[in-house]
Amino acid sequence: MNGVGSVRELEKETDKESPLHSMDGRIKLILLIFIIVYAVFSTQLLVMIFLEIYLLLLIWISNVSFKTTVTRVLLLLPFGGFIILFQPFIHPGNIIWTGPIFGITMTDAGLMWAALLMSRLIVALTSIVLLSSISPMQEVVESFRKLGMPREFAMIFSLMIRFLFMFYDELHRISHAQKARCFDAFNKNLPYKWRMKQLGYTVAMMFLRAYEQGETIYLSMASRGFSDKSKLYHDKKKKIGSREYIFIATTIGLVACLQILAMFLFHQWGFVGMNIV
């Protein structure tokens, strides 16, 4: 999980100016999720390579730092990477290597499957990093609302985003106070039971403050005329212009071309073009 630093850095990236930053939030959301869905659907490495090149091009256009993007993708890889690591050894296929102990074997099909999963993961994570770097969180919520998310749910979602930053600050403060008192949850010189008790109280405090903050917020909202029919998000009217149409045409055109090539041409290009199942 990411800490307060990444939440703040994320919002800083969205303040930059670029053709992609100023685009309608719905278009960015739909198209980047569309790329993820297509990556999950596709079974060819070559398709993933082209999708990743396209995403890197979009990152360049959007002035988002390549270093930050690569660092974030690399930090997120271990979540799925652990499962991918085992694939060459558990997937049935032709044995290409036998280990010296425990009869471990590596198969060609397992290796290809691992490569496909890894490339899918990289494409999906690059899309997410790009989306979160060019769209402020509130813009994504508004986009969801405009796309038909139920009103109550969109309202809870919008409020949650607003208080996310507050809770990270709260957690940061608690953590600072604990460090100032030389408390380290990973210090093995302290009894484990005692460390867990202290962490438990920290979680309880977070939980209590969340509740109490919820009540305070409700009272202040009610005093300003809040009701269950109130709108908590700004319905900014953004017109879908030529930039949006170009982005839609390019992305859908690329995916359509890739699919046609995947069906008729890529399979002739060796292992990068073969269908991995």
Binding site: M1, A39, I83, L159, M160, F167, G200, L208
Partner: protein, 224 residues
């Protein structure tokens, strides 16, 4: 426990999304019927709080670390698994969309594991064991079981997806999360003990009791 994008085929993701939509429909109906108008801000702030709690790394015996999930905690506090579904859909949506923690296509599966299975197993284990073994042991077992079974559900989903063999998956996820579950159990008990002590009115099973409106000030709570 967060399944990333690409590990589950699209047609299976669609099935998990259908489960998510049905669960969310019933959960939002439950929220409208059973919670007062405070529910909207309360759910939102609680989701933000759970999000922050999930980012805290905790030490696990034998040198590794993990984080609390909180599905059983939310379901037990509200005495309703629907609360866990709403809170976890929000938390996992934000984690998936902005932090790449758990996939967008796998959102349905992740909510099924942590929100639906976590909440249902947590609450009903607690309800079932509360009388025979007592409230706090029941909470501990419920929280442990909610994590353990949610992890085993991940192993089953990965097997159905053709990504990981069933027996090895069940063993690996089961052993690792049996330890993570200890943290979940201890912390869930500590949190509910603290709530019972400081704000008993917030616990669903105390709603009908006359607690004498003894709500302490936040500063008083912090001092404790």
């Amino acid at each position: 426990m967060h399944i990333p994008d690409g590990f589950i085929p699209l047609w299976q993701c669609a099935i998990y999304y259908v489960i998510l939509i049905v669960a969310l429909y019933f959960s939002l109906n439950w929220a409208r019927k059973n919670l007062d108008e405070k529910a909207v801000p309360l759910m939102a702030v609680l989701a933000a709080g759970i999000f922050a709690i999930m980012s805290m790394n905790m030490p696990i015996p034998f040198g590794t670390s993990g984080h609390m999930v909180g599905g059983a905690l939310v379901a037990i506090v509200f005495c309703a698994p629907e609360a866990a579904v709403i809170v976890f859909t929000l938390v996992l949506l934000v984690q998936g969309l902005f932090f790449g923690d758990g996939g967008i296509t796998a959102l349905g599966a992740n909510v099924l594991n942590m929100g639906i299975i976590g909440g249902v197993v947590g609450l009903y284990t607690f309800k079932g064991l509360r009388k025979p073994i007592g409230k706090y042991p029941a909470i501990a077992i419920a929280a442990w079981l909610s994590i353990f079974l949610a992890a085993e559900a991940v192993a089953v989903e990965m097997w159905l997806a053709g990504t990981f063999p069933l027996v090895q998956g069940l063993a690996a996820m089961g052993i690792y999360h049996a330890f993570i579950g200890i943290i979940e159990a201890v912390l869930t008990v500590v949190v509910i003990l603290a709530l019972e002590k400081l704000r008993p009115d917030l616990l669903a099973w105390n709603k009908n009791k006359n607690l004498g409106e003894q709500k302490p000030e936040p500063s008083e709570v912090a001092a404790k």
